[in-house]
Symmetry: C2
Subunit: 308 residues, 2 copies
């Protein structure tokens, strides 16, 4: 029997303009799984947290990730998973991706690392497909690889790790409102008006140029979403007002994290990032909405082994 304890971080998908193609790992928040492999067959998942997870393993994102790994590597084993720490589902900070990434990373470690980074992402995407009905890597790739990730394309999967400017702080607030990723996808139109599409890819270009050149001002200007935000911000009470307050306090951008309801802001100073967190907390507190706030310096870590 072999045993590992693995961590995979929460993540922010889209980063404003990069709908379905960009994501960022929040290294200090995430899921922890203990996984064992032994001779035999079958999967068991035990939830040791107080976060509600489905009892049926077929509904847990971990299951299709494990199956994909076994299929890709031709291995056979009995896998037991204990969920030791879990981000709340429906938070918009990549709860399903953290579990999926941890499962993919853990399986790879259990079997002496037969898969490449991109192959692990392919495994993790099976979990994302179960969670949201689509093969997306914009949370799964940063949760596995860390840092800020661009998915240039899916056919074939082309993943690019982007540079992180020296002072790059994210503030994330998770208001306790339920928004299902499936619903948040359904609300989007099937086509994008040409003018908005052009704005979006201009901003994606600017965001990537800003990251490479360390121009945080440009990153902030470019972090605008003409495509999903106009539809999704309705789920977040007082979204426009909150952004006004956040930008007025010195942060460079504020956007919806993934499909929401979490919201994140970007700052180049730790104090500004903490100030943004206070404003976010006040905003939701005053509306009677409970929330959690995280302030994270963005770095290049991703999924990793923990001491057992």
């Amino acid at each position: 029997m072999k045993k590992v304890r693995v961590f995979a971080p929460a993540s922010i998908a889209n980063l404003g303009c990069g709908f379905d193609i960009m994501g960022l790992a929040l290294d200090e928040v995430g899921d922890i799984l203990e996984m064992t492999a032994e001779e035999g067959d079958g999967i068991t998942i035990t939830n040791l947290t107080d976060v509600p997870l489905p009892d049926d393993i077929e509904e847990n994102v971990i299951t299709p990730v494990i199956r994909k790994f076994l299929e890709m590597t031709g291995q056979k084993a009995k896998i037991d998973v204990r969920v030791c720490q879990k981000i709340y589902p429906g938070s918009g900070i990549g709860s399903s991706a953290a579990s999926s990434a941890a499962a993919a990373y853990g399986m790879n470690e259990l079997f002496d690392c037969p898969l490449s980074d991109e192959e692990m992402v392919v495994c993790a995407m099976e979990g994302e497909n179960l969670a949201s009905g689509g093969y997306h890597a914009d949370n799964a790739a940063p949760a596995l690889l860390g840092g800020i990730i661009l998915i240039r394309g899916y056919e074939p999967l082309d993943i690019i790790q982007l540079p992180i400017p020296g002072n790059f702080y994210c503030t994330v607030v998770h208001p306790k409102i339920m928004v299902s990723t499936k619903e948040a996808r359904k609300i989007l139109p099937k086509a994008v008006p040409m003018h908005d599409a052009i704005s979006q890819w201009g901003n994606v270009g600017g965001l990537i140029a800003g990251l490479y050149s360390g121009n945080i001002g440009l990153v902030g200007r470019a972090m605008r979403d003409s495509v999903a935000e106009p539809y999704r911000k309705q789920f977040i009470p007082g979204f426009d007002e909150l952004r006004e307050k956040i930008l007025a306090s010195g942060s460079m951008a504020m956007n919806i994290s993934g499909s929401g309801p979490s919201v994140f802001s970007l700052s180049d100073k730790r104090e500004t990032a903490h100030r943004a967190g206070e404003i976010m907390k006040e905003h939701f507190d005053s509306r009677g909405i409970k929330c959690e706030v995280y302030v994270v310096k963005v770095t290049n870590k991703g999924a990793k082994l923990l001491a057992q």
Copy 2:
């Protein structure tokens, strides 16, 4: 009376995926204007080339550029322009932008450079608007500033000069087929299917990441257009077949330049770029279509003063 002689280069707009937001200057091909300013009022334009230009100055892109410059700077003068060298209109390598950029640059020089780079682009965009019915800077900005340009956004104009990898060769063929920019815009749909839009901004991200990291392979993979090319390639006989031949010969990408009919390929070796030029020439010759071929090493020059 003050006199200048100015050059502004041809340019390739869109660069595959960067529809309306990216362009590249072709330093070795372009327009040359001689401009004089003296006391008085009015504009005259004399065409010294054998390229047909409109007799009515109101139809020449140079006129609105000069007027915009005078309006922005509060100057008054009689301006005479002599067109000494001219790219064929309708070529798809930024003929109107080269004239517009040369006019904006020349005016700025005649009046001791009161305008910034971005303000000169604003002037040059007046010429683009006359030519194609829209304020686009994807040819005008590279024609003025040189190199590879990203226009992050238009409101306000946010222009970013991108780095150029060490070995970066463009081959351009201008087949003598008439395609009007206005027609080539009209044929495009008003909205982009979400899936294609996502592919496009993934590729824009990849292209910019490739330019910054000097990864020419990534630049080539990213130079794909899901938005305009499917509609515009019908104007270019045997487009798909030509691309197959060009890619098989070692070039990294082939796309339509701007709205066509010119086509360009990208290579990291001078010999490959010349080979692409030969294939392009054979392709159009065998179809009875006359063409001109240029092979250009991409550099950072743009509009400039010439000795008189």
